[in-house]
């Protein structure tokens, strides 16, 4: 008797472990705690998201229309304040018809800054190029030659000033920081203590006290009758401040260079400076590039403090733009959000870059 083929009942399909549904099940409803969390967040979003969207988008006024803005007050945002004031917020008190100059100068400087971050541009001519670009930058900004009208540094402001203070601050701080970091590791007690005192003194006080010093004390430090430019004084203050932090960063890199490298250099008969220049610093600086970028982000954010000593960088220019105009002053919060977005865009981009560099460095280590 031939056996009749009897198929067994089909088994249920295995639970899917890939795809959207599986992802949601695992990540949103993994266990009861996760489910409750998802539910609470969803509830909060359902209540508040429509209100926020109403304020920011649906009831908002986008044109520079003061009457409409006043009418929408309390129910909708007035983004018109940005279209009305953005030139003043971004360029500060720089003369309106000359604002192509900071635009061009800053673009030039940022292009060089970005290029300096790329390995393929790391050549000897980068240093002289910086000097040339800085000369062009100051010629463009200050004017007074080549048919450009003169603009006093008091009138520089806005985003170009923020970028300039951060860039020049870190650029000038860099050589000081290298010397101080090396000095802190020196075996000469007097030099080591001088460097330690400098670093700990600066790192122990807030930037604002250094800026107060730049603003109130630096004029007393110079010979009688001289009065250095306020921008220059603040730049010196920021440089001294950044140098102390940068020195600690670089010292971390110096410590990470294996001692065998230095001993090998000594065996080859290299002098102290040859060892540092050819062996130690190239390795140490490559390690700390991400931390240097992070220091740059810190200085970039800290430049907002110079508004307290009356230099009108982005934050200061925004306050100036809105406080000087009673009509638009009620819509300050929208202007705040606008410059928040600018700061965030810059800092976030730089922190992504720093992470990327970190990955590159660790990739080269884990060949």
């Amino acid at each position: 008797m031939a056996a009749v083929f009897q198929p067994i009942a089909p088994r249920p399909a295995p639970i899917r472990t890939t795809g959207f549904v599986a992802w949601v099940r695992r990540n949103l409803f993994g266990d009861w705690k996760s489910t409750v969390t998802t539910a609470i967040i969803a509830l909060v979003a359902i209540v508040y998201l429509p209100r926020i969207l109403d304020w920011a988008v649906f009831h908002a006024v986008f044109g520079a229309n003061l009457a409409a803005c006043n009418e929408a007050r309390g129910t909708g945002a007035c983004w018109g304040v940005i279209s009305e004031k953005h030139r003043f917020i971004i360029f500060g008190r720089y003369p309106y018809d000359q604002q192509w100059r900071p635009e061009l100068a800053t673009a030039l400087m940022m292009a060089l800054l970005v290029a300096s971050c790329m390995r393929r541009f790391w050549h000897w001519w980068l240093a002289p190029l910086w000097i040339v670009v800085m000369a062009v930058y100051f010629l463009l900004m200050r004017g007074g030659a080549l048919g450009l009208s003169y603009v006093a540094t008091d009138n520089w402001g806005g985003l170009p000033l923020t970028i300039m203070l951060a860039t020049l601050g870190i650029l000038f701080a860099f050589p000081i920081a290298i010397v101080v970091a090396l000095g802190r590791r020196s075996n000469m007690p007097a030099i080591r203590s001088l460097c330690i005192v400098y670093v700990e003194l600066i790192r122990g006080v807030p930037l604002i006290s250094v800026l107060f010093m730049a603003s109130f004390l630096f004029p007393l430090f110079v010979p009688v009758g001289m009065s250095p430019d306020v921008l220059l004084r603040v730049l010196i203050g920021i440089t001294l401040f950044a140098a102390a932090y940068l020195a600690e960063t670089i010292r971390g890199g110096l410590q990470a260079v294996p001692k065998g490298q230095i001993e090998a250099a000594a065996t080859l008969g290299l002098s102290y400076w040859q060892t540092q220049r050819k062996i130690v610093l190239p390795q140490a600086l490559a390690i700390v590039v991400p931390s240097i970028v992070n220091s740059f982000i810190g200085i970039f954010k800290d430049t907002s403090l110079v508004t307290i000593v009356s230099l009108y960088e982005l934050t200061g220019a925004m306050s100036l733009a809105l406080n000087s105009d009673a009509d638009w002053r009620p819509f300050k919060i929208e202007a705040y959000l606008f410059i928040t977005l600018i700061y965030f865009a810059f800092c976030f981009a730089m922190s992504r870059y720093s992470l990327w560099v970190e990955k590159q460095v660790s990739a080269s280590k884990n060949r």
Partner: protein, 397 residues
Amino acid sequence: MADQPVARVNRGPSPKWSWRSQAFRGVVYQVLAVAVIGFALWYLAHNTVLNMKARGIQSGFEFLTQPAGFDIGESLIPYDALDPFWKAFLVGVLNTLRVAIVGIVAATILGTLLGVGRFSRNAILRGICYAYVEVFRNVPVLLQLLMWYLLFTDILPPISEPFTLGGLAYLSKGGFSFPVPVWQMGQKLALAGAVLGIVGAVIYRRWAMRDFEKTGRPHSLFWNPVKIIVGMAFVGWLAGGAPMEWSVPVPTQFATEGGASVTPEFLSVLLGLVLYTSAFIAEVVRAGIASVARGQNEAAASLGLAPGQTMRLVTLPQALRVIIPPITSQYLNLTKNSSLAVAIGFPDVVSIANTSLSQTGRAVECIAIIMLVYLTTSLSTAAFMNWYNRRSAIKER
């Protein structure tokens, strides 16, 4: 710290006072460096003295004993405009410390929650924690302070019609008012009881550790001490007659009376600093937890520890060692950033110094006081945290 000489090559006996002797060169370099720095400092001081003479600026700290002549919005100690400058500075220092201490506690709690939240099983929660960290740490803290201050002074309702939380606490342009217990005998005894309880808890912990090492019986090293402290405080409160009286704020037309209150300035400084710093602390905590080797978790699981126990007994103690040094610098950053209070008019030490500076013109002295206050705070915090760090560091051989 004690770094080895970089390239000490034994060149054989070299004449002591020769340029070829490394020791001699070292002495010359150091003398030169000290001389240059000394001359630079002397030159700056010399110029300062000349400038002050030319501009008729007086110097010296004797102004500290003269009446300050300005009022201070909020103060922990009684103060009025006739009090001397040193008292005004003291008020400023106390305000700075108040913001810094409350801020550090709050930022630590919020930052730890956010940092642990990055490891949540829930994707939305992970995303929210990530977004929070990125947004708050990439925007200047000064801007955040200004924004909070604007919110508090512009958006909140006027004093006469405040927001209320169940009729107990009120939030308005005048600040935040909340009920406090009336300070009586019972509270004093409760405080004394709590102090006694802390002493008792320390003794209990010592005994418990010794007993555990001797017999292997585990004792709760967290909940039992907490029970001891709370219990002793409760006994003290009962002994004082168990006072139940609360001072509840009552809103009136011009002010909210009764209870305790904090000004919008204090709130905006606190909120701005806490939200900013907690983003950094969250990153520190996340990195600390991520630094604990995965094998540790697996080993704990194979010993049969529950996830909560693993976190408490295995992961966190090891993460703490990685977390403490960077979190110390975040605490110091918060303290230093509290100086930004000057931008919104909270009377911290910088703001008081700024006012005194514009009133007396003694720039050198006022700035020296600011720097001294922050240096003392920074160095003592650093010393304390170094001590704690040494205690919790891995004891290796």
